[in-house]
Subunit: 224 residues, 2 copies
DNA sequence: AACCGCTTGTGAACGTAAGAACAAAGTCGA
DNA sequence: TCGACTTTGTTCTTACGTTCACAAGCGGTT
């Protein structure tokens, strides 16, 4: 039992592959040719055994006694993540955060092309954004369908997120990155990842709280 | 074995508590008084057994046969996350993303007070930002120490992140939220959470790739 | 060609998390 | 006051993820 089909990569591993990819790109830029799992793991901030196991899901890439060919490994990871083809995306909700995302250099440099930026606010429509212009939300479906967009990024207020999500899914989008603080309901074939900024701070707050109580005593506070 | 000390809440649970908290705040606004684990789980998008187990770490809060008192539960979660006291934060790196974060309403409304916004660029210093002004990075330490800042948010380019991180830690910050695409090295007593925007898209890309190959065949691509 | 040292790839042990199922404990109605 | 009904809190099972430890395999050296 628990035989993993070839090509089946665990979720936790996928998330780390993206990190390894970034680190490897840095190594390529530094003209590094070979890297050992120990070195790579140290840079990526993980255990070297974990790194080797992660990479083993992609096949036998390294050379025993030597290490990994940096360029080859980077290509293997990129191909596993499906980054050999550019992917088209749309962004919905162009407030502060939406603007920041549109200007984020990491997206286009990593193979993601934004083919549309949408907002409901007529006052914003037509405004320039990242060498393009903000479009009215009514054009969402036609742009998605015309460009075969597979990824939608939602940066609207929480109230609008589910409606936008439904429209994206109906238009054919099968992956969604959600920055709105709300839980999205989607069909099974659609993947959602959420980035919850306030939640991140709250999680840190929890750890601060725990530290300030001192580790080891759990029942300090009187609830009365 | 594996007895968990009272007050020891699993990481996975902590992350979800923040979600429950947000949902509960919505219910309070809607004047809901009582909610069952089934209802709450549905809204939060989780399994109801998981939700009950999560809440059980906070003690026995619900009433069998009835459900949970919405207000009480919200207070319990807030207190567990250490949100009963306001926490002071600083933001370093005021580019596009930094501005968006500074303007994000979810932070101050949830008990986080930003007492400083810093940047290295002299051209930006003094610019207004979120009813405050951008300060020069040289003032970082004094502001952190004067305000007992516990949380630092890094929104600088990748190259600057580790240096900024070191300075924050030296000044006494014990929790860091990192938006820069880089791995931060910190002492054991410091918590780091990272938000890697490009990685999020890459993870979605992986799932798109997997879907397009069709589920079930793992060895389609010829490697030669 | 045979050996030695190094690093990978992996099997097995451990720990954490998720989900099903049920006993405990409360409310409400008669 | 008693019993039926509802929903929590928890136990147990299964799955997933991490880490250790080492055999397998490769390059360099003699």
């Amino acid at each position: 039992m628990s035989e993993r089909r070839p090509g089946e990569i665990p979720e936790a591993t996928v998330a780390r592959l993206a990190v390894y990819l970034r680190v490897l790109t840095g190594l390529v830029d530094a003209s590094t040719v070979i890297v050992s799992s120990e070195e790579l793991a140290a840079i990526a901030g993980v255990n070297s055994a974990k790194l080797r196991k992660d990479l083993s899901y992609l096949g036998s890439i390294g050379t025993r006694g030597v290490g990994y060919d940096v360029t080859l490994l980077r290509e293997k990871i990129a191909s596993s993540l499906g980054l050999t083809q550019r992917r088209t995306c749309v962004l919905v909700g162009v407030g502060n955060l939406g603007h920041a995302l549109a200007g984020y250099p990491g997206f286009s440099s990593r193979g993601f092309t934004f083919v549309g930026y949408f907002d409901v606010d007529p006052g914003r429509v037509g405004d320039p954004i990242a060498d393009s212009k903000i479009s009215d939300i009514s054009e969402l479906e036609s742009v998605v369908e015309a460009n075969g967009v597979s990824i939608g990024v939602i940066a609207t207020p929480a109230e609008a997120a589910q409606t936008v999500c439904d429209r994206l899914v109906d238009a054919g989008v099968t992956s969604i990155l959600n920055f709105a603080p709300s839980v999205l309901a989607v069909p099974d074939n659609v993947d959602v990842r959420k980035v919850d900024l306030a939640a991140e701070l709250q999680i840190l707050s929890f750890h601060e709280h725990r530290k300030s109580r001192g580790p080891g005593d759990g029942l300090v506070e009187s609830v009365g």
